[in-house]
Symmetry: C3
């Protein structure tokens, strides 16, 4: 029998949560080299000591207004604002005895929505509302899980 009230891979809900959670963490980690790529491409170091590696000589100016770099940085910050709080309520939600089908579907859809968000925001730059919709799907799932946890633990 599945241990549906345990944080453990024998619980299929936890297993799905951890799988998609690890995928989302890899997605977050991807933003670092992705930012570095645009920093090198646009010779826009984050710190003066990085400028040498980009071939700078003489005076170094830190530019915080490069559109490509700032776009990736906004995408990264948006990940922190959305994915990290979601991973907490997702963990609590695992323990609220949800339907296995519903819970595993929500974890999957939420993770894919954030991957799409990164792509349309920072890779191919699709016009709105592509970014808004992908953001909103993940956001709604996060709010649903948070409310489920609040009601379950009251």
């Amino acid at each position: 029998m599945a241990n549906v009230d345990l944080l453990n891979f024998s619980n299929p809900v936890f297993s799905s949560y951890a799988y998609w959670g690890a995928i989302l963490v890899l997605k977050c980690f991807f933003m670092s080299p992705w930012t570095a790529y645009f920093r090198f491409k646009n010779k826009t170091p984050a710190s003066p000591e990085d400028a040498v590696a980009m071939g700078a000589r003489g005076e170094i100016k830190i530019n915080t207004n490069n559109p490509e770099v700032e776009r990736v940085r906004r995408g990264h910050l948006n990940d922190l604002e959305n994915i990290l709080p979601y991973l907490f309520v997702g963990l609590f939600y695992v323990l609220t005895s949800p339907s296995v089908f519903l819970a595993t579907t929500l974890f999957k859809v939420a993770a894919i929505a954030r991957i799409v968000h990164t792509i349309v925001y920072t890779v191919i730059v699709v016009p709105q509302p592509a970014r808004g919709i992908s953001w909103f799907i993940h956001y709604l799932i996060g709010i649903y899980m948070a409310i489920s946890v609040v009601l379950y633990s009251m």
Copy 2:
């Protein structure tokens, strides 16, 4: 009997942690529409493709200096800096066999302090030290829990 050494809703300490943790996640999630409200009000889009939805025509300038927008954004970043690390040590602290009364009180006070922080920073803008005190109460509880975990696991 309560399972005081388990991450599970049968453990009253975990239940309190998850309840107030989910409230704090909802509070974090609230910052997104709250930022969007000020972005629309001040016609200050985050990205060029958002400007059209705000009725912009012709050349689009990204303004990163609107005081109202930047205030909410600072509040949001302050949440990430404080609430997210706290939720990790809170989770570990649940397993250190704390007094149920002490632990549930700390989780409640810490969450309320962060809600007050958001209100006095971004909703009604109360003069200092209101924001400093609410920040500090939560911060001290986080440090107390972190030290408890370090001592317990040594």
Copy 3:
């Protein structure tokens, strides 16, 4: 016998994870007074209402370009981007039945790498590649754990 598949201090892998996790949270929390120190030193308030406490009179200008303050803030944001996602995959990794020696060593090395990162970035400002190497060691361990979790839960 050790409960190697439980999130509990009776599991030596979890115990090591929680110990170094709490150390890393304390390290993150340290960035707040560390930022405040440089804000006071350089009279660079984050918000207008803070300026009075720094002895400002008359018109208040918010300066977002002070090099010392911005350096610490970049270090803090880098912590959020790296440490927080890592703490999630670290938690999942605890449950993948890793070798106790390997897992506890990785938790220790990852935490020390981030402490070194903060020191060389914001305390003594060592030339690159000191910061890059310490960032990369932690980053690689995070990716290794994330991939371990994905493979284990597939």
